[in-house]
């Protein structure tokens, strides 16, 4: 349950962000009477800039079906002297910002199939329910809960191009376990956006800058949501206890949208020059567009927490565009031990690493007053299984990129032998300055980040 979140966050003074005049200031000027949260102070743009360090950002990138665990992911050496695999060629220029895990094993509470591995990626939690998707709060949401950043969006959740018949479904499990990596509560997944254009519009709310138009729109939306909240209260007594979680989730989501209405949108000038991505993109174009939106959302401080399922668990995207013949990802990951098939799977892993390199390059190009966006970010990338063929959960292909605002010591091979998977997720939260006392089964954060 997290219904109290919006209440608590509205009590907090806005502390660090240099921003334009708040929406509240501007609504007052427009003479609009709308109940808005009390803010401690209204600070003109730039007044507090300079002394404050850049806020930390957390990005989780998921790719499915693991690796071949052959030369593609052959990590050797130790510490900063480590050597990467053949799939990592595109990352070589960024090696000082890239750490890779060795011997980090998943703990899925059962055979490591795709559903278990995907559900565990950010939760460290096992799954059991075969009817209702139930996991646990994911680390990105635990971080968001504790940091409660005063950004337009509390967090942003992105996904791949749509599958025509819906996200892939694993035998015996609800497909939600493959579809969702971010969970606000055990029963409340954060379903990802499958359109880069829709994601772009979430960050840069369309509709122009005419203050009268914007004020009228805000008033109408607030009126609609006020009505919704009254209706939820009215039907609640008529529902069974089974529905309490669902109604609570709906209520929480509505309140979050209400909060978005009150939050400041990013300065329109931040995104100037960035192109709206459009609809109907191919998978590779969509991926690039999503990474662009992701980087822009961080750069403009529209959100500080992003998860991106580059494909869903059990994903079977067509990689024919790589020239790998009949290149359906999941099919290839299980198709045999012939050198050609292995090379095709390795080619797909390489492609995902190229996408990471693209994002890292974008983050590194954003200067935030002496440091780059990459310096202040933690990018955690990984997969549901280690060896895609056998579904092994041993030696997961997990990567860290960025400096975490000084909390990370990047550019190393991180030996996680003996560490629990939960403790690594907990350590990520601590590196984000979200000192959770525990996460999933871990109470002590992994010390080796």
């Amino acid at each position: 349950m997290r219904t109290t979140r919006t209440t608590s966050r509205t009590q907090q003074p806005r502390a660090t962000e240099p921003r334009g005049p708040s929406r509240r200031t501007f609504l007052r000027a427009a003479g609009v009477a709308v109940a808005l949260p009390a803010l401690a102070s209204l600070v003109p743009r730039g007044a507090r800039a300079g002394a404050e360090p850049a806020p930390k950002r957390f990005v989780a990138l998921f790719f499915p079906n693991g690796t071949t665990q052959r030369q593609d992911w052959a990590l050797a050496g130790s510490g900063t002297g480590y050597t990467m695999g053949t799939a990592h060629a595109a990352l070589a220029p960024w090696k000082p910002w890239i750490s890779m895990f060795k011997n980090l094993n998943g703990d899925y509470g059962g055979a490591p199939d795709h559903s278990r591995g995907t559900a565990s990626f950010l939760t460290g939690a096992p799954i059991n329910d075969q009817i209702t998707p139930l996991v646990d709060v994911s680390i990105d949401q635990a971080i968001a809960e504790m940091l409660d950043p005063d950004t337009l969006l509390r967090s942003l959740h992105l996904g791949p191009t749509p599958y025509p018949a819906g996200p892939p479904s694993d035998t015996g499990w609800p497909s939600g376990y493959n579809t969702y990596i971010s969970w606000s509560s055990p029963s409340a997944p954060n379903a990802p956006l499958e359109s880069a254009q829709v994601a772009f519009d979430q960050v840069f709310v369309p509709g122009g800058t005419d203050p009268d138009v914007a004020a009228a729109r805000l008033r109408r939306r607030q009126s609609i949501l006020d009505h919704t909240l009254v209706q939820v209260d009215a039907i609640e007594p008529r529902l069974g206890t089974d529905d309490a979680h669902k109604l609570d989730e709906y209520l929480t989501s509505i309140r979050e949208v209400e909060q978005q209405l009150q939050n400041m949108p990013p300065d329109p000038s931040c995104g100037s020059g960035s192109m709206a991505p459009g609809d109907g993109l191919s998978f590779p174009d969509h991926t690039k567009a999503m990474l662009d939106v992701l980087a822009l959302a961080l750069q403009c401080d529209a959100t500080r927490i992003v998860t991106y399922s580059m494909d869903y668990g059990f994903g079977n995207k067509d990689f024919t565009f790589l020239g790998v013949g009949n290149g359906k990802h999941h099919n290839l990951s299980h198709s045999g031990s012939t050198p050609e098939i292995i090379a095709n799977h390795e080619g797909i892993v390489s492609w995902y690493m190229e996408q990471l390199a693209y994002l890292v390059g974008k983050l590194a190009a954003v200067d935030e007053g002496g440091a780059t966006l990459l310096d202040s970010s933690i990018v955690y990338m990984g997969s549901d299984v280690g060896d895609g063929w056998s579904h092994s959960h041993a030696d997961l292909p997990m990567i860290l990129a960025g400096g975490g605002g000084g909390a990370l010591d990047p550019g190393r091979l991180i030996d996680a032998t003996g560490a629990s998977y939960d403790s690594v997720l907990l350590a990520l939260a601590h590196a984000m300055d979200a000192p959770l006392t525990g996460f999933s089964g871990a109470s002590t954060p992994f010390a080796g980040l």
Binding site: A111, P174, A191, S195, A216, S223, I224, R238, Y250
Partner: protein, 554 residues
């Protein structure tokens, strides 16, 4: 009054996505969850539905799926822009995306629902202003309430309460106070309705059902029954005619209900049964992932992939139009093909790209079992995938769901020169850790050995003779798809399985183990050579499971 088809007692275990213990050689529908009197379920065959205990259960809050949302705003306001395309994907439980258990509303969806509500309301007022403003040019409070009442009846799928009307009128007033006029007030109120739980969840109990106590069983009122019927047959909201019947309070009368049922099943909107039910039941989404090797199958292209899918649609639309038997899924020889598909079927004389009705060879073909779509989507790039074909047959037609592969399982062995697939898989099953599941799956997959990766009949497999001996989970053996169809047409497994899936789809929840008595009874009675699709659907609509709700125990 409606006659309940369920009283008395009789239980076998089916229902729920059934995870059989693969080690159980007889791990079929009756075998593992206890209570079965026989492993093949044969003793339940033909059981009178009245012999089943009534075991209604509550559907949780059931959000409209993306497809249902789009159809609903289309039918309410003529909006055909598919606003739900912008929503995050729905996920599925037990293979169906309308299952209440998987339908949630997170913050991103809530934000996009608000966008959609505003956009739909604006378009509705632009396109249907004259229909919506029922008392124009009046703009007083009485007119506003009359307008809102008529709108809410359709949007909420039942008459609004006085309080609900007051709440909507408050929205209109607020907007009017801001000087945006009557029309703008109504537009915002429409958006407010579209954002309300009464619209977004199609299972909110009506007021007339009162406050239910734990464990209490109640009959759905006419409004709730109309909604359930409409979303079952149309995947969309009740139309004005159905709402009128509900307002008259006649839907508990079997004749009145049957008249609506017949009218709706004959309506083109009932194609939603194909889009919503058949596609998910038969897992036809997997066809998108089929990737026949261009060198081996130069005739395969995206047009042929689309034709294969179109054939399945035409087959079921034809079945619905003729009100044929659901046994035709197993043994039908009437299907639809263009030149490319006819070539796969080996049927001469079909030209052009448009699909036309054909008769297939009954010694080689058996309904959906041997359709190119099914055979292609269960094949690898070069050749059929026996394991995939076996899993499909087990899941889709027998409701036997193999569990996920166990931990640390070794990959299947590579083929050795001259070895058939059957021999390779037999070598695979020699490993006990593999055998437990694959001795269930593989013998089902061998059924289709006469069909290549596009679904063409083949007389040999790269020079090796075809061996299409298959085996059902209860041990019965047969040769090929045609013989399998005969076996399945005479036993309770397939009828029970299809009924279970239809009930799961109709109710938006998984069936309970106790309900397997009902699904077996309905299936064995209405999936026969003499019974029709409408008999099956009608039996479901008149079942206790469909017509009642039970509040969960606190």
């Amino acid at each position: 009054m409606r006659r309940s088809i369920a009283t008395g007692i009789g239980i076998i275990a089916l229902g729920l996505p059934l995870l059989v213990g693969c080690g159980d050689r007889h791990g079929d529908a009756g075998g593992t969850e206890g209570g079965s009197s026989s492993s093949d379920g044969g003793s339940e065959s033909g059981e009178d539905p009245d012999a089943c205990a009534p075991v209604p259960a509550r559907v949780g809050l059931q959000r409209l799926t993306r497809a249902e949302y789009d159809r609903t705003v289309r039918d309410l306001f003529g909006v055909t822009s598919s606003p739900a395309n912008a929503f995050p994907p729905d996920s599925s439980t037990a293979g169906f995306d309308n299952n209440a258990a998987s339908l949630t509303i997170g913050p991103q969806l809530a934000s996009l629902l608000l966008d959609a509500a505003e956009a739909v309301a604006a378009q509705a007022m632009a396109d249907q202003r004259d229909e919506i403003l029922v008392c124009a040019p009046a703009q007083d409070e009485a007119c506003a309430r009359q307008t809102l009442s008529a709108l809410a009846l359709r949007v909420y799928r039942r008459p609004p309460t006085e309080t609900e009307l007051d709440d909507l009128f408050t929205v209109v007033q607020l907007e009017q106070t801001e000087g945006d006029g009557f029309d703008a007030g109504i537009e915002v109120a429409i958006a407010a309705m579209l954002m309300s739980p009464q619209f977004l969840y199609r299972s909110v109990p009506s007021n007339s059902m009162g406050l239910l106590s734990a464990g209490e069983v109640v009959e759905l009122d006419d409004w709730a029954l109309a909604s359930r019927l409409s979303y079952f047959l149309w995947g969309s909201t009740p139309d004005d005619a159905l709402l009128e019947r509900a307002a008259e309070g006649v839907l508990r009368d079997p004749d009145a209900l049957r008249a609506e049922f017949d009218r709706m099943l004959a309506d083109p909107k009932a194609e939603a049964l194909y889009e919503g039910f058949v596609g998910q039941w038969l897992q036809l989404g997997k066809l998108a992932a089929a990737s026949p090797d261009p060198a081996s199958f130069p005739e395969f292209d995206e047009a042929l992939r689309a034709d294969m899918l179109e054939e399945t649609r035409r087959f079921f639309e034809d079945l619905r139009a003729r009100d044929g038997s659901m046994l035709e899924v197993l043994n039908g020889t009437r299907t639809f093909a263009n030149a490319e598909l006819a070539a796969i079927y080996g049927v001469a004389g079909v030209e052009g790209t448009a699909l036309v009705a054909i008769e297939t060879d009954p010694t080689e073909r058996a309904g959906v079992l041997t359709m190119p779509a099914v055979l292609a989507m269960t094949s690898g790039p070069e050749k059929p995938n026996i394991v995939k074909r076996g899993v499909w047959l087990a899941e889709a037609l027998l409701c036997v769901v193999p569990p996920p592969p166990p931990d640390g399982i070794p990959p299947a062995p590579d083929p050795t020169p001259g070895e058939t697939e059957r021999e390779r898989l037999e070598r695979h099953r020699a490993d006990p850790s593999c055998a437990s599941c694959h001795q269930l799956i593989d013998p089902l997959g061998f059924t289709f050995e006469h069909y290549d990766a596009l679904g063409r009949w083949r007389t040999d497999d790269e020079g090796q003779a075809i061996d299409d001996e298959g085996q059902l989970p209860d041990g019965r053996t047969y040769h090929g798809a045609v013989e399998l169809a005969e076996l399945l047409a005479s036993g309770p497994e397939y009828p029970t399985c299809v009924t279970d899936k239809l009930v799961t789809y109709a109710l938006g929840r998984t069936t309970t183990a106790e309900e397997s008595c009902m699904t077996t009874a309905i299936g064995t009675e209405t999936i026969t050579a003499d019974a029709s699709l409408s008999d099956l659907l009608w039996a479901i609509v008149t079942s206790d499971a469909f017509q009642t709700e039970r509040m969960p125990a606190q």
